[in-house]
Amino acid sequence: MNPGNYLVLSGLLFAIGAVGVLVRRNAIVVFMCVELMLNAVNLSLVTFSRIQGNLEGQVIAFFVMVVAAAEVVIGLAIILTIFRTRRSASVDDVNLLKY
């Protein structure tokens, strides 16, 4: 088997995550889709690491995970705050900043 298959898998997962971000309205689901995209990227990084034969890719994937963790914390806090004031977790309801 060719390691390139992991990259194909990664590309598919990323595209699915992107579509999810575009079609879902529940902010938490949107957020989960973003996590999926991040993971897809991580997978490709690990695969690159393997193809290149050094560990830098894994280190970067590690950093991505840490940053993603921080992002999740903040993102969920923001969703919670919005929910508290607007009683809604739909990204479409937050559309006041417009023409």
Binding site: N2, G4, G11, A18, V23, V29, I51, L76, A77, T81
Partner: protein, 294 residues
């Protein structure tokens, strides 16, 4: 993705048949999990499907000689982060299911087309480029570094020490930020125990603990009848009617609704005993309780 770069890597390892087998089992599950998450109507289902997907990705890490990341993925992602997601989901309301009717005209179609296009763009040229391109593999590097974890640790604390420090600072900042974001400013004075109690009594809520699930009783009080099947309290026309079975189910549903609507300010009306004028007897103990409570 650069073919020259790929060509430059020395062909050291070829993948084993076991890895291929595992991959071909894991990869469809991962894709299905991802698709399921996007398509799931219920957010909790979506979260669980994401867990499955992340688990598959973790397996992929393991397959590619990245055990550290694989286990970190399982512990941090499928463990901690997804728990956080579920926690927030529960906090917001699991049953606030989202309508699947698209409100933005053409959004779904455009998203699908663009998503497919993007996937095609990523997959097909890639598949063409990587066909027959062997990989260097990291097994040797791992071995040279005294194992994957040691090797990564060496990198982290030597070459990437500043990035590491910056990221740790970021984590702390994120934690503080989350606290600040979710912190509620107290606008009035902190209510004393006395005021809390008074408010609770004046609201007419049940003072005593609510009976446990699975019983017909709606209150621990002896003068309260159990609910009738269908959730009514059996008070018709102001006159108390006979006790009947099935009140437990109604009470249970009422409790669920109460939990689900925790935030919307509506007090659970089902189990409240003293709602009608005929329930004067029921109200009396409350009044007495009020009197004695003070």
């Amino acid at each position: 993705m650069d073919p020259h770069l790929l060509a430059a890597a020395a062909p050291i390892t070829s993948t084993s048949g076991g890895e291929a087998l595992t991959f071909w089992i894991i990869a469809p599950i991962a894709v299905l999990g991802a698709l399921g998450m996007v398509l799931a109507k219920n957010a909790v289902h979506g979260a669980l499907l994401l867990v499955a997907n992340l688990f598959c990705v973790a397996v992929c890490y393991l397959l590619q000689d990245a055990p550290f990341l694989g286990f970190v993925q399982i512990v941090v992602y499928t463990g901690a982060i997804m728990v956080l997601f579920l926690f927030v989901l529960m906090l917001i309301g699991v049953d606030s299911t989202e309508s699947l009717v698209e409100t933005l005209r053409g959004q779904r179609l455009a998203a699908t087309v663009l998503g497919l296009g993007f996937a095609g763009l990523l997959v097909f040229p890639l598949g063409k480029v990587i066909k027959g391109q062997p990989a260097a593999g990291v097994a040797d590097v791992n071995k040279a570094g005294g194992g994957n974890i040691h090797a990564i640790a060496r990198l982290l604390f030597t070459d990437y020490v500043f990035a590491f420090e910056a990221v740790s600072a970021l984590l702390v900042i994120a934690a503080v930020g989350a606290m600040i974001l979710t912190h509620r400013e107290r606008t009035g004075p902190k209510p004393s125990q006395r005021e809390t109690l008074r408010r609770r009594i004046e609201s007419g809520a049940v003072l005593t603990p609510v009976p446990g699930p699975g019983v017909y009783a709606r209150a621990d009080s002896a003068d309260q009848r159990p609910a009738l099947p269908g959730g009514s309290n059996g008070l018709v026309g102001g006159a108390p009617s006979e006790l009947g079975p099935g009140g437990g189910a109604a009470g249970g549903r009422g409790d669920d609704a109460g939990a689900g609507d925790a935030g919307d300010g509506k007090a659970p009306s089902g189990p409240v005993p003293a709602t009608g004028p005929g329930a004067a007897g029921g109200a009396a103990p409350v009044g007495a309780g009020k009197g004695s409570g003070l």
